[in-house]
Amino acid sequence: MESIKDKVAIVGMGCTRFGERWDMGVEDLLVEAAYEAYEDAGIEPKDIQAAWLGTVFSGMSAMTLSPLGLQYIPVTRVENMCATGSEALRGACYAIAAGVCDIALAIGVEKLKDSGATGVKGPAIIGDNTDGSSSIGSGYSAPASFAYLGTRYFSHYNLAPEEGKRLLAEIAVKNHHNGSLNPKAHFHNELSVEQVMKAPIVAWPLGLFDCCGVSDGAAAAIVVRADMAKRFRADPIYIKGMAISVGARQGTIGSGYDFVHVEENTRAAQAVYEQAGIKNPRKEISCAEVHDCFSTHELVVYEDLQFSPRGRAKEDIDAGTFTLKGELPVNTDGGLKCFGHPLGASGLRMMYEMYKQLQGKAGPRQVKNPRLAMTHNLGGNAGAGVGCCVVVGNEK
């Protein structure tokens, strides 16, 4: 089995401002993200030979991409819960690596705020009988499914509730600080630890500010054969590894799963590091965008991605390891928490930030001399999910 390492390059990216985009429909978001990516890559729409579109709820089939005016090229719509954006990128990259096309578009979009409801439509339980028709799925909210991680993490590592809450608050405070430096983010406010800790509880231990924004947005990437990349730009970004890990709901069906890590994250990370030839992720990864849908998840992701040893994320949080000026900055653009989470777009939005970071174009959020960066998503829940990791670098 060959690794995808250095076979594909990203030569252009686009990302809309995320947020409650009452002013924009799905079609506007798609056009805005795609045309920024075309311009960034220096290509014309007619240069696109194939496209992958990711969306969870905002349209069916490849025809959702019709607003771009593409002319009879192959288009594939993909869906993989919160990993949908990364899944679109994966499809496009594999096609390039297979040699079946040279220039492809990966684009993700989600319009969550037209539903008229708060939160994300649920529970579209994986594999259930056509959208919630299973009569006996529990009716809990998305925050509740990630609260399980917090409750258990506190209990497993003997963290007093106040101490656990404070750790989670530090994550939200960091992400809001980063987002405040980002004009495209959904939110731009800084938060204090006290504000986060005193916010109304949504699902203990998660308060309002432990939960990510429910947003509209789109993001896009132009991918090409690595050997062609320099024709498009001097600073292309190379794919070093792409991994997805899907279990069989072992965590929710079989006993024994500890709810203080996510096996799908852990396996996807192991796989992507192997593809990229990374031995010590903590030292080799310069910055990362991880799936902080809820602060409890970012906490365990530090450990799943081997940034912190098991049970010791606390030490790194306290040391400021993951802040912009820290040893391994995480969620430099504000993360899902502050940048927002339009499901189908998020994976590509994360890549947009890592791409800009690796090109040295992240402005006030710029990380020093980055070489390797990674994105991470989890679709589904702890115990039954879709773990996804992508590693990119600015050197071939």
Binding site: G132, S133, I136, G139, A144, A147, Y148, I253, G383
Partner: protein, 475 residues
């Protein structure tokens, strides 16, 4: 000899204080509180709980289930079949609903006695439950209470034998609900008592004593229906019974449980009866059924039941008037801002019938791992050893477990917010993610012992979506 071989009861933990009702309407509330079925409970779920309590530790074959109520969840569709399924009775068990009369509980008992006496059945489970509605601000709102009682009628080692019975019917209109009534309608209070209740009860009880040449002094207890405690006290006197002979009907702590009232009281009487005690039982409604129940030497096995009626009376959680109204759909409330969930579809519900039945999962024949799918999908490939189609059925509804982790959910669209959801590890293996009920969120903790209970998961415009939830073990 035909008799009662086991007993069971279920009283919801919630109590609405009558003082609270009085405050609401600026009237004087009566003393005590009334039992209120939880927002996820109804007549069927309470009956399942009482029936499970009754068959507990009794593996003998049950070949009949008679269910008595005036508040069946469906006008068309049998409740007894739902109950028999959740209790996991044999498919050949006879099931029947006896409805529309307050006397349905004792009539079901009489039918069961007849079936066992005739040899048509060996063991018949009689369950009665009611969850009647009085109109807000009215007298029934305070009088009524929710609950269920059960007796097993059989002939092997009975805890009490049935020494005799006597029934009369009477087409007397005192209380009624037509198809279009949500609330109980009533004739003028003194009229229905003087022309209906008093003469009917006297005729039936005196008829029974005359038939068997017995007098009040021959009975250690009398268990009988009355609408409230005033009527109850008055009737005991009229029938010639001393205060000490009268079984407390728990009007103060539970309220009038309708068709279940006599069975609930009988359960309490048998929990304290001595061998040889004679109990007079009299149900009322469109006539009266009366019985002579005599405790045997086996009655002492009922003295330490868990939970006992005393336990159920002691474990209470106050519910405020607003919640009571919303739980009974008596007041419109703002819908959740979350997207609506789809209504349950009949076909997947049918495919999931074994899980719904008694929380059946599977156990792998190859590696022995018990497993259950959180949303009831069929498991074909073992989660542990990947053997395909090597499963045997494995029942989880009779297992206890521990809360491995939990989430207190303020967004969950529940009528008892905040919701509590948990990951349950069953004793003996198997993990299940589910909703909890009857919890105190301040006591939620990892490692908390839980058991499962049959509840309404949702009820939309269509069917009642019964399923299992976990609840804290109260001991």
């Amino acid at each position: 000899m035909v008799g009662i071989t086991s007993i069971g009861a279920y009283i919801p933990i919630y109590r609405l204080s009558r003082e609270e009702v009085g405050k609401m309407w600026l009237t004087k509330g009566s003393a005590g509180g009334r039992a209120v079925a939880g927002y996820d409970e109804d007549t069927v779920t309470m009956a399942v709980a009482a029936a499970l309590d009754c068959v507990k530790g009794n593996g003998r074959k049950v070949d009949g289930l008679y269910f008595a109520t005036t508040t069946a969840p469906y006008k068309e569709k049998q409740s007894a079949a739902i109950i028999a399924s959740a209790v996991d009775l044999d498919k050949e068990c006879d099931t029947a609903d006896l409805t529309n009369s307050l006397r349905a509980g004792t009539t079901a008992m009489k039918g069961a006695i007849g079936a066992v006496e005739s040899g048509a059945a060996t063991q018949v489970l009689v369950v009665a439950a009611d969850c009647r509605l009085g109109a807000p601000k009215g007298r029934f709102e305070q009088i009524l209470g929710d609950g269920a009682g059960a007796v097993m009628i059989g002939s092997t080692d009975p805890i009490a034998t049935i020494e005799g019975s006597y029934s009369i019917f009477s087409d007397f209109t005192d209380l009624w609900r037509t198809n279009n009534d949500d609330f109980i309608q009533s004739g003028e209070v003194r009229f229905i008592e003087e022309a209906g209740y008093i003469p009917t009860m006297q005729e039936a009880v005196q008829g029974l004593m005359k038939k068997y040449s017995l007098a009040p002094a021959d009975f250690s207890k009398i268990v009988f229906y009355a609408i409230d405690s005033r009527q109850h006290t008055d009737m005991a006197k009229r029938l010639g019974f001393e205060k000490s002979q009268v079984q407390d009907p728990f009007f103060g702590q539970i309220g009038n449980t309708g068709a279940a009232q006599v069975l609930v009281s009988l359960v309490a009487a048998l929990e304290e009866a001595a061998p040889g005690d004679r109990i007079l039982v009299a149900g009322y409604g469109d006539g009266s059924d009366t019985f002579i129940v005599r405790a045997t030497e086996h009655v002492s096995t009922m003295h330490h039941r868990k939970p006992s009626m005393k336990d159920m009376l002691a474990r209470t959680v106050p519910v405020d008037y607003g919640r009571y109204l919303s739980w009974r759909d008596l007041i419109p409330t703002e819908p959740s801002a979350l997207p609506e969930r789809a209504e349950p579809s009949l076909a997947p519900r049918w495919r999931e019938r074994k899980v719904i039945r008694a929380l059946y999962g599977v156990k792998c024949r190859k590696c022995g791992t018990p497993q259950i799918h959180t949303i009831g999908q069929s498991l074909r490939v073992c989660i542990a050893c990947r053997a395909k189609d090597e499963f045997e059925d494995y029942k989880f509804s009779d297992k206890r477990g521990k809360l491995f982790t939990y989430a207190i959910d303020k967004l969950q669209p529940t009528k008892n917010s905040p919701g509590l959801n948990g990951v349950i590890d069953f004793d003996g293996g198997g993990r299940w993610i589910c909703e909890l009920t009857d919890y105190d969120v301040s006591k939620a903790a990892t490692g908390m012992p839980v058991e499962v209970t049959f509840r309404k998961l949702s009820q939309g415009k269509g069917i009642v979506n019964y399923f299992w939830k976990a609840k804290p073990v109260l001991e």
